[in-house]
Symmetry: C2
Subunit: 251 residues, 2 copies
């Protein structure tokens, strides 16, 4: 299931998180050092592995260093719904720090590497450096803002528009941590996984992808998505990036 695990200190490992923060606020040198001093252990996961189990009581919070992960809800009838997609720099399981019992599981969408930070270390750092504490807090409220946008998509958008919206969102998020540029991004997600994100059947996702291709808005070949006309795509998707909080401000 897992191939390695090493105990160490954050140092360079944690740079995606620093980018995530720096994109949204200024971070002093000492603050940066404090974050880099967080104790952590890293672990690799293969595509499909469970990173955190539903109903478990984690003692560490998990941060994605590499690859994609997803929060997954299991329904009684076996259906699945992904409630969030996480990319490098996302402090995925800060929620578990305060919620104690996981209401969902987290799984690896692609092969990925994650860092685990003990809860006490996070709490202590947040008390010692309240501004960093607020940035952790912010990270969870940005997750919530994204979830609100998803609720809007699921409730009131058509399948095509929803997919278009998601592509806009993923591009901007990946771009914010330097993992996408020139309107292209690697998206290691099968159409079947995409169907669990969009709340559709895999068959319909296929049709909808083809429709976006036909209208010349995107190309999607072997896990690489290219946005052929960003302005037209955002307009088509009625996409307003406010909720991603991609503005550097005192928080």
């Amino acid at each position: 299931m897992t191939f390695d695990a090493e105990q160490t200190t954050a140092s360079a490992e944690i740079s995606p998180l620093l980018r995530f923060f720096q994109r949204r606020d200024r971070l002093g040198r000492e603050e940066q050092a404090l974050i880099e001093a967080l104790p952590l252990r890293t672990q690799r996961f293969r595509r499909g592995d469970e990173i955190i189990r539903q109903h478990s009581r984690p003692l560490e919070s998990c941060l994605i260093l590499d690859g994609f992960a997803a929060r997954l809800l299991h329904m009684a009838d076996g259906k699945r719904q992904i409630t969030a997609v996480h990319i490098p720099g996302d402090f995925v399981d800060l929620h578990g720090l305060l919620l104690k019992v996981m209401d969902h599981s987290v799984t690896a969408v692609s092969d990925c590497r994650a860092a685990f930070v003990p809860h006490p270390a996070i709490i202590q750092l947040a008390e010692q450096a309240p501004h960093i504490g607020r940035l952790f807090w912010m990270s969870t409220t940005i997750d919530a803002a994204i979830q609100r946008a998803w609720i809007g998509c699921l409730g009131r958008r058509s399948a095509v528009t929803h997919l278009a919206y998601l592509i806009c969102e993923m591009y901007l998020r990946l771009n914010a941590v330097d993992l996408a540029s020139d309107n292209r991004m690697g998206l290691p997600v099968t159409q079947s996984e995409m169907s669990d994100i969009l709340g559709l059947s895999a068959v319909h996702v296929n049709r909808v992808v083809q429709e976006l291709r036909r209208t010349g808005l995107i190309s999607w070949v072997k896990g690489e998505v290219t946005i052929l006309d960003f302005d037209r795509l955002t307009e088509f998707a009625d996409f307003d990036p406010t909720y991603l909080n991609l503005m550097r401000q005192p928080r």
Copy 2:
């Protein structure tokens, strides 16, 4: 639009929030006093009033004292989606504290009364009493957990099941702040507003309400919902209350 506004200190006003916290963690006497000392102004709103405007930059966070409020997303084509329903004791706009620019609006679902607390007072209290700070943080992560459950409902549940699920959720949340008992609750929500919660048309909501009535699971008369068989309803809805975090634990 608004009929009164007074500047004061939290004191007894804020008791729904204390109940919200005490249901989930132990709160010391001094902590309670610190929360009650928060400066606030209260304001009344009528059903339909906008409490916080989308794209505004609030300088205070808003807490519901009385009545129901909802987070509302407006789509380009005029459609609306409610992303959260808030009841007394919900610190609705703690999100705005860290996100700076509102990505949605908050409106009054029923006539209601809200308290506004200046951001600096919240930040200062969180630094002074880190445990209270974590409870504020927890409040936003519970919002997020509820939103995840809603994503699951919107994506993978049928209309009837979704409505049943929502009724279970609302009952437990209202019960947790002593606003519902004996399987009955006041639900001041029209079928049309319900349609913006469930992401359905108002017509279909009507059909679905009738179906739940026909199967003997609920009665819903003039804003009062009675759950006729709670166990059968939760089973029908595949409802797992974990995500509401109704357990008293050190946070």
